[in-house]
């Protein structure tokens, strides 16, 4: 196994907040979220700030100055770091960031790396900020917005429409994913939503961009997250329950076909790389923490990662119990749809940290019994005229790597 000299030794996650003029939910700025996330992660691992010799920072959609990771090092009181990096992979970020950091520990460049991600898409006076970053090629301004293209909601609505028309996928099938995750969120004190909803409430939750409904849309929240990586020896000294990375794979800009299919994401290659590296098959995963900005995106990932045939994701979720108690537990803490997604800076940390909790046996009343290994994905990069284009997959397992 390529990453046998590194483990996850600590995690940290803040409460979620959606401050607006109409509520009194707390507002913290980006730097405060980074600070809180770092504090909680270090406390969880039982290490002091002086033990940290590497820093990884996920780029937020909340604007930051250039060389921001170095500024953040100063904020946190980190000195003489032997390794610093930033990730910029849109919604999938936590996975590539933590994998890069793991490679730094594996190769001995650093011993203890702190990875942080945070974002503040909600502001009490300014309203909603940017959930997703701007417009790298100018296609949004020049060739989408003049036609009233309403961002990711409309883009994913067109993906879902195509999947429904091509394969007969139904609203009820997609809704069953949401209803299951919403129930999981009731058992997660760090989730924004704490009330369950039924299928009918999902179905009538308000049409945004037909066929995308309100409850299909990811929930923007302000939050911060952290993950600490170190060597198995150091983790043993700290007395923590280690979690290791059995395999990982990426596929960025997977498709340069003339007519890319809307219903294909291209995460298949990332999954294949991860499964090959781990020497494991998809069916041995004890749970899946699948990146969820919309249920349709989860459905397509289940198809590409080997859980259902192409186009068969709908019938698959209909016949498979995806609850914590079921045969294939999915997003056991509620996923980003119900926990909340902190812009792109905190994106996919919900998936990663929930996997670590499950593998340490810290799942509380949502613990998957005897969880040994699980799959985590991160996805981002919406493009013109096709599906998402930045994909990462990691397989985590309990204990140190063998």
């Amino acid at each position: 196994m390529p990453l046998e000299n590194v483990v996850v030794a600590g995690i940290g996650e803040t409460e979620k907040s959606r401050p607006s003029r109409n509520n009194d939910q707390p507002y913290h700025d980006l730097e405060e979220y980074f600070w809180m996330a770092a504090d909680r992660t270090l406390e969880d691992a039982g290490v002091g700030i002086d033990d940290v010799d590497g820093l990884g920072v996920a780029r937020s959609s909340t604007p930051t100055p250039y060389r921001y990771p170095m500024m953040l090092a100063e904020t946190l009181g980190l000195e003489d770091l032997s390794w610093v990096t930033a990730s910029d992979h849109c919604g999938g970020q936590a996975i590539p960031l933590v994998v890069q950091a793991a490679q730094a520990v594996e190769t001995g460049v650093a011993e203890t790396v702190l990875c942080l991600g945070a974002d503040t898409p909600k502001h009490p006076e300014k309203g909603s900020g940017e959930i997703f970053p701007g417009d790298p090629r100018g296609f949004k301004r020049n060739y989408q917005e003049p036609f009233g293209m309403q961002g990711a909601n409309a883009q994913l609505a067109m993906v879902q429409r195509r999947h429904m028309d091509q394969y007969g996928t139904t609203i009820e099938q997609l809704g069953s994913i949401y209803v299951t995750q919403r129930e999981h969120a009731t058992r997660n004190p760090l989730a924004y939503f704490d009330e369950p909803v039924g299928l009918e409430e999902y179905r009538t939750s308000g049409m945004i961009a037909d066929p995308i409904r309100l409850f299909d849309c990811v929930l923007p929240v302000n939050a911060g997250f952290g993950c600490l990586l170190t060597t198995p020896e150091r983790a043993a000294e700290l007395g923590v329950d280690p979690v290791s990375i059995a395999g990982f794979g990426h596929s960025h800009n997977p498709e340069v076909a003339e007519r890319p299919a809307f219903t294909e994401m291209g995460i298949e290659a990332a999954g294949r790389r991860a499964f090959e590296m781990a020497g494991l098959e998809p069916d041995v995963m004890d749970f899946l923490q699948i990146y969820d900005d919309y249920p349709i995106v989860e459905l397509m990932q289940l198809e590409e990662l080997g859980y259902a045939d192409r186009g068969e994701g709908g019938p698959f979720v209909e016949r498979t119990d995806l609850s914590v108690e079921g045969e294939l537990p999915l997003n056991t803490g509620g996923g980003q749809l119900c926990v909340g997604q902190a812009g792109v800076g905190g994106a996919s940390f919900v998936q990663l940290l929930e996997a670590v909790r499950q593998l340490r046996g810290d799942g509380g009343d949502r613990q998957v019994p005897n969880a040994e290994r699980g799959l985590v994905t991160g996805v981002g990069g919406g493009q013109y005229g096709k599906n998402l284009t930045a994909h990462s997959v990691a397989i985590l397992q309990r204990g140190v790597g063998a």
């Binding site: 020049n142 961002g151 429409r161 028309d165 945004i208």
Partner: protein
């Protein structure tokens, strides 16, 4: 009354060429002489082979609805509130590219994937005509 909806950049290339052509009633896409690919949206290079010898070609203006959405809430672009409900679609042109556009001149609920459509320009300001699509009668084929 002034036009409040988002305007494209008509001053810098390659957008200026595209939007000037629209102003004259022509829809341009791009073709690469090196690898013979066609692409849309406009760029100054070929996204398939990286060539910078990209050329403009005029599209016939026929195609079909690849996929679409009926916008019911203006979650990001409030200036479109008065248009709701309206159809945003990717239309696949005969030439093989997909273009983000509106399907107009029909009830939103009657739009379907695979529906045959044809180009129509919607002049929204003195300087801006948006390339939109409307249903094409089967006998027109």
């Amino acid at each position: 009354m002034s036009y409040e909806k988002p305007l494209p950049d008509r001053d810098s290339e390659p957008h200026a060429t595209f939007w000037s052509a629209c102003d004259e009633g022509r829809l341009l896409i791009q073709s690469c002489p090196d690898c013979e690919s066609v692409q849309f949206f406009p760029r100054t290079w070929c996204r398939f082979c990286g060539s910078n010898r990209i050329e403009w070609v005029e599209a016939e203006g026929t195609g079909d609805v690849h996929t679409y959405t009926i916008v019911r809430r203006a979650t990001e672009l409030p200036s479109f509130t008065d248009e709701i409900p309206y159809v945003v679609a990717y239309v696949e042109l005969e030439e093989g590219v997909r273009i983000c556009t509106n399907v107009v001149d029909c009830e939103p609920d009657t739009v379907e994937s695979g529906m045959a459509v044809e180009l129509t320009f919607d002049r929204v300001t003195d300087e801006l005509a948006l390339p939109k699509f409307r249903p094409r009668k089967a006998t027109d084929r």
